[in-house]
């Protein structure tokens, strides 16, 4: 890859230290130097306790770093957050029970002060994109887990954010729903050209979706390798059958420090 690409997000010596219940310092993350390109699909991969969610939350300004800093489009994460340039898909759908699916998708636009008509049109568009058009007026608990997660994704795309942060969004879903949503996500990503940071502990998922996989290792959480995934796009589920795909999975697995986990 010789082409010059714009760097969207840059972390410098990023570290986060928590205090546990006994008041001892626990290093969740240390010395992360990472450059993420504009329009890239990048995965933060690692076992529990490796700090991948902490890294994502630091970039989103939901967590203050103890050391180092993050720059996004030359701004601090806080400035970017207040300009509503982030979309965030949480592990759980986090839909408000008292709002219909459509009203949930409209929430970020309400906060932004979009007009009623604009909100409604945009929400319809997003729901169509994730295949929930017919469920716009349902309440969240009338939807299956997979549909709730689609609504969650529709809400994150609603504001047309520059950067989409996804924290293990599919980990609670069954394999069939997950594969369907993988394909959908790649289609939406291609159509919208966002920068996506995707957190997962599933190696196949990371390899299938990403341009690059950042491997994080635990105790203390740190970035131990970055693996380029140069499988041609658009990718379909058949890619997973190929020997090259499995080669890359093995390569990622072997790059965890201290061997496979």
């Amino acid at each position: 890859m010789s082409e010059v690409r714009d760097i969207e997000i840059k972390t410098r010596e990023l570290g986060v230290t928590f205090q546990d219940n006994a008041g001892r310092d626990v290093t969740a993350l240390t010395g992360v130097n990472l450059e993420i390109y504009k329009g890239e699909f990048i995965t933060l991969l690692g076992p529990s306790g490796c700090g991948k969610t902490t890294l994502l939350r630091s970039i989103a300004d939901l967590q203050k770093p103890t050391t180092g800093d993050v720059h996004i489009q030359g701004m601090t994460p806080k400035e970017v957050r207040l300009q509503q340039k982030f979309g965030f898909v949480f592990q759980q759908p986090v839909l408000f029970d008292w709002r219909t699916v459509k009203k949930n998708v409209e929430l970020p636009m309400e906060i932004m002060g979009y007009s009623k008509g604009e909100r409604s049109d945009r929400a319809d568009e997003m729901l169509e994109m994730v295949g929930l058009k017919d469920f716009a007026n349902h309440y969240p608990n009338q939807l299956s887990g997979g549909m709730q997660q689609r609504a969650n994704i529709a809400r994150a795309f609603g504001l047309d954010p520059d950067i989409l942060l996804m924290d293990e969004p599919f980990s609670a879903l069954d394999e069939f729903t997950k594969e369907k949503l993988h394909e959908d996500l790649l289609r939406i990503w291609r159509a919208t050209n966002k920068t996506i940071l995707f957190v997962t502990h599933n190696i196949q998922e990371g390899v299938f979706l990403s341009d690059r996989v950042c491997v994080l290792s635990p105790h203390p959480g740190r970035l131990s390798a970055i693996v380029d995934i140069d499988i041609e796009r658009p990718r379909t589920l058949e890619v997973k059958e190929s020997s090259y795909f499995n080669e890359l999975v093995t390569k990622v697995r072997n790059s965890f420090e201290g061997g496979s986990v």
């Binding site: 939901l62 957050r81 979309g87 759980q92 986090v94 408000f96 029970d97 008292w98 906060i111 009338q142």
Partner: protein, 284 residues
């Protein structure tokens, strides 16, 4: 052979009692039918004086139901007057107390340092028994007005207010702070200021908790109103009428007021349930 045996096993009907137990219509109906049967049996035992022989009492102390009903008809004007007095106290106390409790809960949720103290104070007030609080407040409100009815009313309303404020405050605080995981992060990601988070997340989240509070405080407000009437300076209200008539050994009239008190409670609860079913329709 084996095949036939299997068929028989699959086709065997469940026992009648089992089928009744599993019947959805019966499950629903039984919540109404069973208490109704209990009520009818009780009325029957009462009216046929079986109850009297069980409890070694007579029809003077425990008048027959038709007699109580007759008196309720005869003095309906007076009963209505006393009912209005009691309902006024309960209603105003409930409304003022609930609003106050909710505001304190909101303060506690937004500014934990100031507000949580307020919540503990109000919680402490609620643990004072009404029989202790009512006479003290009678004393405190002596100078409120020259009209005995009015100052008596104020004193009673304050007692109900304190009870309801505590109930609402503690419940609403939970509703305003016990949010779904990540929902605060969600608001933060979109840069929502505190005010919008309050309006779009905390307040809607607290509505079911408001009804939890009301389910306790609606009956409690009526009970508190009735009890504080016992100690009030001015003689009015259903509770006071019960007391006065027992003192005068007019048990039938006292029972008429006891029945009225029950009716007020039941009607208030039904109104609340109807309101809840309308307002909580979208909370599943």
């Amino acid at each position: 052979m084996e095949y036939e045996v299997k068929l028989e096993k699959v086709g065997r009907k469940k026992s009648l009692s089992q089928r009744i137990k599993e019947n959805k219509t019966w499950q629903k109906a039984s919540t109404i039918v069973l208490p109704l049967i209990f009520g009818i049996v009780l009325v029957g035992l009462w009216q046929t004086e079986v109850l009297h022989s069980w409890f070694h009492t007579d029809t003077f102390t425990l008048p027959l139901i038709n007699k109580i009903g007759g008196i309720m008809g005869d003095i309906s004007d007076k009963i209505l007057e006393n009912t209005i007095a009691t309902v006024e106290v309960a209603f105003f106390g409930l409304v003022i107390g609930s609003v106050l409790g909710y505001l304190i809960a909101m303060l506690a949720a937004l500014y934990p340092k100031i507000g949580s103290g307020g919540l503990s104070v109000i919680g402490a007030f609620a643990s004072i028994p009404v029989v202790a609080m009512a006479p003290v407040l009678n004393n405190w409100t002596k100078d409120v007005s020259t009209d005995a009815n009015l100052r008596s009313m104020v004193s009673k309303i304050i007692v109900v207010t304190l009870i309801c404020a505590a109930d609402m405050g503690l419940n609403a605080y939970r509703g305003l702070t016990e949010l779904k995981p990540f929902s605060e992060d969600l608001m933060a990601i979109y840069g929502a200021p505190k005010k919008i988070t309050l309006w779009k997340l905390r307040i809607p989240n607290s509505i079911p908790y408001v009804f939890t509070a009301l389910k306790v405080s609606v009956p409690a407000s009526i009970m508190t109103a009735i009890v504080s009437e016992y100690f009030a300076e001015y003689i009015t209200g259903v509770g006071r009428a019960i007391r006065e008539n027992i003192v005068l050994a007019q048990y039938s009239t006292a029972w008429a007021y006891i029945a009225t008190a029950c009716l007020i409670g039941v009607v208030a609860y039904v109104v609340l349930m109807v309101l809840q079913s309308i307002l909580l329709r979208r909370y599943h």
